[in-house]
C-alpha cells in the first residue's frame, strides 16, 4: 500500500499474458479515458500500454495464469516513445479532462483518475509508431519488456 515511493529509476511493471505482452495499436483512438476505463472491452485496440509502479497491482493483473513483465522509463525513452507518468495523468484527469484526457463525461474522467491512483498507473504511448507494421510494433514491445522480476 504505497510503502515505498516510486522513483524514476524504478521499474515499470505490467501484469499480462504469460506468452507475451499484448500489442498496442498506434493508430487506435488516443483517448486516455477510453484506455484506462476499457470502454470497449478487454482486447480493445489502444495506442497505450499501461504499467504500474506497484508489484501487487501487477500481480493482480497477471492473475494465476499470467506473468509480470517489466520495463523502465529509460528503456521507453531509448525507443523514442512517449512516457506518460502517473503525475502527468493525474494532472490531466480532472474536470472534463485535458489534452488526450478530454472527455465529455466528467464522472468517467474522475473514475479513470481514481483507477490511476489505485493502480499506480503510468502509460507508454506508441503513437509515434503509427507508420509501423504490427510486426515492427511487436519488435519494439519485445525490446521494451522483460519477463519476471527486475
Amino acid at each position: 500500500m504505497g510503502s515505498k515511493a516510486w522513483g524514476i529509476d524504478d521499474p515499470l511493471l505490467r501484469g499480462d499474458d504469460k506468452a507475451a505482452v499484448c500489442l498496442p495499436v498506434p493508430q487506435a483512438p488516443a483517448s486516455i479515458v477510453r484506455h484506462v476505463l476499457f470502454l470497449e472491452g478487454p482486447g480493445r485496440e489502444t495506442p497505450y500500454l499501461s504499467t504500474t509502479e506497484d508489484d501487487d497491482v501487477a500481480a493482480r493483473f497477471a492473475g494465476r495464469s499470467g506473468a509480470i513483465w517489466w520495463t523502465s522509463v529509460a528503456k521507453v525513452q531509448a525507443q523514442s516513445l512517449r512516457y506518460i507518468s502517473k503525475g502527468e495523468l493525474l494532472e490531466v484527469l480532472r474536470g472534463k479532462g485535458k489534452g488526450d484526457a478530454a472527455w465529455p463525461r466528467a464522472s468517467e474522467v474522475q473514475t479513470a483518475r481514481a483507477y490511476v491512483e489505485l493502480w499506480g498507473e503510468h502509460l507508454i504511448d506508441f503513437r509515434r509508431l503509427q507508420a509501423s507494421s504490427p510486426s515492427e510494433v511487436g519488435d519494439v514491445v519485445c525490446a521494451l519488456f522483460l519477463k519476471g522480476s527486475p
Binding site: 504505497g2 495464469s65 499506480g120
Partner: protein, 274 residues
Amino acid sequence: MNLFACSNCCYNALQYGPLGLSIGYCVEHRVVLRQADETTCPRHVRKDLGGPSRETAHDHHRARYPLDVVQSLRTAAPATDDPAIVDPDTRHLEEDPVGEAVTSYGSLDSKIASLAQLRAIPGARAELAMLSLGRGYVRRCLLRGGRWTSGLHLFWWTRKRIADEPVIGVRDFRHETAASLVRQFELAAWSIVMLRLHLLADVGGAAPKDDGVSVATGLVDDAAEATDLPDLASVLAWIRGTAEPRLEHALPRQRYGELRDALHRDQCDAPPAP
C-alpha cells in the same frame, strides 16, 4: 481489478475494487467466485459506469464472451468444473451477514425483500451489495418493460442516506492498492457515494422527462463537474447543498408514500402467477 472481471459486475455484490470479501458470489450463476478478478461471463454488467457507457461495454463484452458460463477472462475457457475457481457451496459465505443476504437473493419472497434485508445491515459492504444488486435489478426490470417505479424503494432508501459518509473498516478491504492507506479509504468511500448517485441516475433516467424524478439522471456528471477530483468531502458537500434539495423536490415523502401504496395495490390486484 480487471474491469471486465466478475469482481466489477453488478451481479457479484460482494466486491468492488479493493472493497469486499476475498471471495465473491454470482447471483446469476449462483456460484461462489473464488477468483473473481480472473473470471467473467456474457451477463457482465459493470458497476463502475453510468447507463450509456455501461451498455456499450456490455454489448462489446457479450460479443467477446458468448458462452453463458463463468469462464476465464483471459482464455474464455469454461471454469464451471474447476472448484478452485467456482464453487456452488455457499456455507462459508452464509457465516457473513452480507454474504448470507446475497446468497439468498432471488430465493426469498421477492428480490426487493433481499435488498431490504441488505439495507438494514450496517456498514459499507452491505450498502455496496444493495447498490450493486439494486442496479442490476433496476436495469433488468427496465429491459423487461418495467417503469421507473420498479426502482422506487431503492431510490427512496438511497435518497435517504445519500449524504451520509460510508462507514468503512479495515476489514472491508480484500486487497491492497498502490494508493496510501488514507487515500485508499477515501477512494473506497467516494466510490460508494458515486455508486449511490449511479443508482439514482439509473432510476431517474427511466422516468418520463416531465416527472421530477428524472432530475436524478444527471446527478453523477453534475457531481463530478462540481467537484473536479474524486474527493469525498467535496462530493458530500455538493450533495448536501445541491443534490438533496433537488431530490427532496423530486420525491417528497408524501409522493413516495402514494407511489408505494399504488405499487402495493397493483401487486395485490394482479392475477396470480400461472
